[in-house]
């Protein structure tokens, strides 16, 4: 059993949770993920590690309550436990030597993963421009944290209710066209956002790293559910990734494959609602 030692609601749908998991905390690095299972009947769900504390032996994740399992996890409180937590899985993000200036881009809950990347780079002395995009003001998360570890933070909302109006790609394009020279771009967020960021950086040949979130089952290199096409070849996000060179990823295929159970989730949603008296 893995005890929840911290829980914080970052917005209506996004929750931060830290678990007591000393062995995982000892090894975790930015870019890796864990697999959790709430109870004996739950799914195995991957979540990228948002933070870790080796001394306290804790691992932190930030998740959006979108499916049956994340909703169920979100209903637990500090002091409760979940039955399974496996990790740290995947390959830690590899930073090229000699990086001077990097643009880190987070979309929505993806900011939870972009943040530790930016923090790590910032700590390495790299100049970090952070572009964070949200649908609207109400769902902004981690603003203070992101500001603290970036040279410049650009907040963007789709409806202009906070920061600048527009997608993150608008700002990125503006910065690049304005003469900013980035050694690399790291983009983490919805698949469509990562795809569009890659389209912005491609003509400039800026190396663009993306963190992919395909459907997984075991997460340890056994089932092959998380396969993605990268440079025309099959890669497995759980053991080869989850980071890949965005210019080589077939995002359209990933988007289609990620939607396979969408109807089922909708159906399951109605079940969850009844079960928890509409709370979930």
């Amino acid at each position: 059993m893995y005890k929840i030692v911290e829980k914080r609601e970052l917005n209506e749908n996004v929750t931060l949770m830290s678990f007591q998991a000393p062995y995982i905390a000892r090894k975790a690095e930015a870019g890796q993920f864990i697999i959790f299972r709430v109870d004996d009947r739950g799914e195995r769900i991957p979540l990228t590690i948002a933070d870790y504390d080796r001394d306290r032996g804790t691992v932190t994740v930030i998740f959006q309550k979108v499916g049956a399992s994340t909703k169920r996890l979100g209903m637990l409180e500090e002091g409760d436990s979940i039955s399974d937590l496996a990790g740290p899985l995947g390959v830690a993000t590899h930073y090229e030597d000699g990086l001077k200036k990097v643009a880190v881009i987070g979309g929505g809950v993806g900011c939870a993963i972009a943040y530790p990347q930016a923090k790590k780079l910032h700590g390495m002395g790299v100049s970090v421009d952070l572009i964070a995009g949200f649908r609207n003001k109400d769902i902004v998360i981690l603003e203070d944290e992101m500001r603290a570890i970036s040279d410049r933070l650009f907040m963007m909302t789709d409806d202009g209710s906070y920061g600048d109006k527009g997608f993150v790609t608008v700002k990125l394009k503006e910065l690049i066209e304005g003469g900013e020279r980035y050694d690399a771009v790291i983009a983490i967020g919805p698949v469509i956002m990562m795809k569009m960021v890659c389209e912005v950086t491609r003509p400039y040949g800026i190396h663009t790293l993306v963190s992919l979130n395909p459907i997984m089952v075991d997460g340890t290199g056994m089932c092959g559910g998380c396969r993605v096409t990268v440079d025309g070849k099959i890669k497995f996000a759980c053991v080869d990734g989850p980071d890949f060179d965005g210019h080589l990823v077939d995002f359209d295929e990933l988007m289609r494959r990620n939607n396979i159970y969408k109807d089922k989730e909708k159906e399951a949603d109605s079940h969850v609602c009844r079960l928890f008296g509409g709370k979930a």
Binding site: G42, P88, L89, D218, M222, C223, G224, E253, A268
Partner: protein
């Protein structure tokens, strides 16, 4: 007086039409009367050819002799002296190519039903006897076993019986490996696997789940923690795909994923959250046991039509004869001498069909099997909404990529000597991690040999 019937006592089965829609076990097992009758067919040959066909050398005529005289408990003792998982092996071993292929009775008629008798003895014991597992006195030496599948369970059990303190590090949330995630409930009920695992725990084996060795701990760290030897039984690994067009379409599964969703994650039960596609028409590519398991699972999940697409003929099909027969009885259609060339999809990226080409058998290849050759222009399409690839696996990279000095071959399998020791002293390996995708019993045989070698290694240290 031996029973001189040329045929085995028939195994009672669930009716094919009924069982194709449920997850209950297909073969129902012998009654005591049937078992005694079948056991009497054994001639108790002096030279025991059957034993030489068994990877773990079960004293076959010895236990069958006890069955014939109704001493089932004694039979169980003899059986388990060599095989830690008899209820499993009786159900999933390919007896027709192992023990039963050497049986003298098989020369003229059917061999003795060794597998059926093994299963009977194990089941009878489970139902009628209290398990008296006694925890042996500890010898103070610690051994780590990586992976709780057939190889690891066998190795752990044998070492625990010798007094070693054994810890199994299991990556998933439950031990059992392929017995849990791969082989379906209707062929191997999970309560039987759980029971075998409980027996190991009673022997004092500690099972740590959610421990992905290579990630959370390295093999070197296991030694630092005081383990004096390590056995790696990390199993199969990443599924292979054909590299044909359309494998990224929605509705293409690897058999590993499909079966894991069904078996380990219980997608067939409403009370579990795991989703799986509601397939109507399914093509399973491959001819092994895994392909049969996937095809028969798809039927049970409600598919109207399920094809096996296999590039050679029925003579070369690698699955156990019984699995092929069961699949046929349940209505799986075999498309033999057919090979997929691409998977077809609609504008939304969903599978709509699979284009195949007819094959004919040419000259024997290196494996001795006649290699299939395409018949030009014989392409045709099967109308399916789901394709399941069951064409094998390549070994999991997590351990070899994080352990220095572990030699692997060109396919990525760990290299071991005849004692199952890898290129690193004190590190042993066996099962699919060494052989590539193979059978449960071969993995168990490797686990057994490794346990003997580890014992010898630590005694001489």
């Amino acid at each position: 007086m031996p029973n001189m019937s040329n045929k085995k006592v028939p195994m009672p089965h669930q009716d094919a039409k009924v069982r194709a829609h449920n997850y209950d076990e297909v073969a129902l097992g012998y009654t005591p009367e049937m078992a005694v009758e079948e056991a009497k067919r054994c001639l108790n040959c002096k030279h025991k050819p059957c034993v030489s066909g068994c990877p773990v050398h079960v004293p076959i005529p010895g236990f069958i002799e006890q069955v014939a005289s109704g001493n089932f408990e004694k039979a169980y003792e003899i059986l388990t002296s060599a095989n830690a998982l008899p209820a499993v092996c009786g159900r999933v071993c390919p007896q027709e190519t192992q023990c039963e292929s050497k049986c003298v009775r098989g020369i003229k008629g059917e061999s003795v039903g060794i597998g059926r008798l093994e299963r009977f003895v194990a089941d009878w014991y489970m139902q009628n006897c209290e398990t008296h597992v006694r925890k042996p006195q500890s010898n103070g030496h610690k051994v780590a076993v990586v992976g709780g599948g057939p190889a690891g369970l066998t190795c752990a059990g044998d070492l625990a019986k010798l007094g070693y303190q054994v810890t199994i590090f299991e990556a998933f949330h439950t031990a059992g490996g392929v017995l849990m995630y791969g082989i379906p409930e209707f062929r191997l009920p999970k309560r039987i696997v759980s029971k075998e695992i409980d027996n190991l725990k009673a022997l004092g084996v500690d099972i740590e789940t959610n421990m992905v060795i290579g990630k959370i701990l390295s093999v070197d760290e296991l030694f630092d923690m005081g383990y004096e030897a390590v056995f790696i039984g990390s199993g199969a690994g990443l599924p292979r795909f054909m590299g044909i067009e359309g494998e990224g379409l929605v509705g293409v599964y690897s058999a590993n994923e499909y079966l894991t969703r069904v078996n380990l994650m219980k997608a067939y039960l409403d009370e579990y959250d795991t989703p799986i596609k509601d397939s109507r028409r399914v093509a399973v590519v491959g001819g092994g046991n895994v392909a049969m398991d996937a095809a028969r699972s798809a039927l049970r999940l409600g598919a109207e039509k399920v094809y096996i697409v296999y590039r050679r003929s029925m003579e070369e099909i690698p699955a156990r004869a019984e699995e092929v027969q069961h699949a046929q009885e349940e209505g799986v259609e075999f498309q033999l001498l057919r090979n997929p060339v691409r998977i077809l999809g609609d504008e939304n990226g969903n599978v709509t069909g699979i284009e195949c080409v007819e094959m004919e058998l040419g000259e024997p290849d290196a494996s001795g099997r006649r290699s299939p050759v395409e018949k030009t222009g014989s392409n045709f399409a099967l109308d399916v909404d789901t394709v399941i690839m069951a064409i094998g696996t390549s070994p999991n990279p997590l351990i070899r990529s994080t352990t220095k000095g572990l030699e692997t071959n060109r396919r990525g399998c760990l290299v071991v000597d005849e004692s199952m020791m890898t290129s690193r002293e004190g590190v042993y390996a066996g099962g699919d991690a060494v052989t590539g995708a193979a059978t449960v019993i071969l993995a168990m045989g490797a686990g057994k040999t490794a346990a003997e070698s580890i014992d010898a290694f630590l005694k001489n240290k």
